[in-house]
């Protein structure tokens, strides 16, 4: 065990953790918006919208995240007309390709989590609102959404943790996130165990924080 190496790589890895956290938070924000949108579409009676939402989640949950990143990064880069279009400004950057892949992926899982939360809401709540003469819109915003969010907290906490680990794939498209920098240090020191233990410890610590934060929310909003 090279303890000196572990100590000297720690600040570099901590710096790279910022990139990881940026990737994670942006993807989660975009993913939550996408997830909510597609969950609502999924509950829609319109068969076209319904099926569209179903296929979105089917495709992104049915393929590995790594494959999705490669298709978005290397795959789209091969298409001539995309390269000459304005979209290339975004797709040219590995950072945005990673964000797009992560958002679409977590969006698919989030939509399923929210859909099942919506579906399990006790019909009595809605009927109670109805009988008080509250409009459909208000019932949705004031009753359905808050309950659905509370219901989905445990599953969504899991999704955040999975996504945190998923961001390590950003290093496959040249980004210098926590895993990317760990690999870089290993490539010059040839000591993978020490460096990966430090990097793994940082991931573990972040998971610990996320886990406890979600548990705190669960307690706070329990009913």
């Amino acid at each position: 065990m090279d303890l000196d190496l572990m100590a000297s790589s720690f600040p570099k890895l901590l710096n790279a953790t910022l990139v990881t956290l940026k990737l994670l938070s942006l993807s989660l924000i975009f993913g939550l918006v996408l997830g909510l949108l597609f969950a609502i579409l999924r509950l829609n009676k319109n068969i076209f919208l319904n099926k569209f939402s179903y296929f979105y989640s089917y495709i992104f949950r049915g393929t590995p995240l790594l494959v999705q990143i490669f298709i978005i990064y290397f795959g789209l880069g091969q298409i001539e007309f995309l390269r000459s279009s304005f979209l290339w400004i975004i797709l040219k950057e590995p950072y945005w390709c990673a964000i797009i892949a992560f958002s679409l992926n977590t969006g698919a899982y989030t939509s399923e989590i929210l859909r099942s939360a919506f579906e399990t809401i006790n019909k009595g709540f809605l009927e109670a609102g109805d009988s008080l003469g509250i409009s459909k819109k208000i019932i949705f915003y004031k009753i359905q959404i808050p309950i659905a969010i509370r219901q989905s907290l445990p599953a969504y906490g899991n999704e955040i943790i999975l996504m945190l680990k998923g961001t390590s794939l950003a290093s496959t498209v040249t980004l210098m996130d926590l895993t990317g920098v760990a690999k870089y240090i290993i490539s010059t020191t040839f000591k993978p165990i020490e460096v990966f233990i430090v990097a793994g410890g940082i991931y573990l610590f972040m998971t610990f924080i996320i886990h406890n934060f979600i548990r705190y929310l669960e307690k706070k909003y329990s009913y």
Partner: protein, 275 residues
């Protein structure tokens, strides 16, 4: 119970036998993604200059060999952790790597070069044909200055943990925007897509790609050797494996004397890259 006992005993014996059988074999690690040094054919079989040379060297050593595939960025750690006993993966002999492992004498050498897509404004860079960084004469310094100016503000792509990355980060060409990839294939893809303004690798890696993909990849600037680019490509061996190092060194001597290395090199590179 008896059946289980007998079965596990049998399993143990086979396991033991297979381990001892493996012990006689020299396992050689290669990447399989760096043509023409080493690559894979359509059926997934390892081919290339070093694969053919490895079999030849094993014949001279007089021992059975097995060629093992390993990702480039984990090559040296895998050797140290005994996943295999020798590296033949286009790995240049550098001082940095010598701190971790030993190298046999060099068996081949070739130059590095920058590459761009046709139409890039780097085309027609005015430098000499080739520069050797071991002796930094006035002419070499002048060329490095030209390259530094040409690369300023450009995204330069390179495979990770290579001599080419070392050179770009050595400060010889100033502080530049380096992007690293896991494989040379990915560098080529992003050079062609335009994400990379310019790439640095072995010159043959680009000419090989241009030929196979029919993409307009062109070499620019001088060819590089010496200094950060090391002293040829050798067999990487663990520090404590001195016997194996001797065996490889004498096998390389014999193969060189009989003309095997230059014959195989010419077959794969199109020119004699042996040394």
């Amino acid at each position: 119970m008896n059946v289980i006992k007998r079965f596990s005993l049998g399993l143990l014996i086979t396991l033991f036998l297979s381990i001892t059988a493996n012990a006689d074999k020299i396992r050689i690690g290669t990447e399989g993604a760096y043509p023409p040094w080493n690559s894979k054919d359509a059926s997934g079989k390892l081919i290339g200059f070093e694969v053919e040379l490895a079999w030849t060297l094993c014949r001279y050593i007089g021992q059975q060999c097995e060629i093992v595939e390993q990702d480039w960025d984990g090559m040296i750690p895998a050797l140290i952790m005994r996943k295999f006993d020798a590296i033949m993966a286009g790995m240049s002999i550098t001082d940095e790597r010598k701190k971790a492992i030993n190298f046999s004498q060099g068996y081949a050498d070739e130059v590095a070069s920058l590459a761009v897509m046709k139409g890039s404004n780097l085309e027609g860079m005015q430098t000499s044909e080739g520069i050797n960084l071991t002796k930094k004469s006035g002419a070499v310094k002048k060329d490095l200055k030209t390259i530094t100016e040409a690369l300023a503000g450009k995204t330069v792509c390179v495979q990770t943990a290579t001599i080419h990355q070392n050179f770009l980060e050595s400060g010889d060409v100033g502080k530049i925007n380096v992007r690293t990839y896991k494989t040379q294939d990915e560098v080529n893809l992003d050079l062609a897509s335009g994400r990379c303004d310019v790439a640095l690798a072995a010159a043959v890696a680009f000419t090989d790609y241009a030929e196979k993909s029919k993409k307009p990849v062109v070499l620019v600037g001088p060819t590089f050797s010496g200094g950060a680019f090391g002293n040829g490509v050798g067999v990487g061996i663990r520090k404590d494996d001195t016997e194996l190092l001797k065996a490889f060194n004498s096998a390389i001597n014999k193969a060189r004397k009989n003309g095997d290395i230059s014959r195989i090199a010419t077959k794969w590179f199109g020119f004699d890259a042996s040394m």
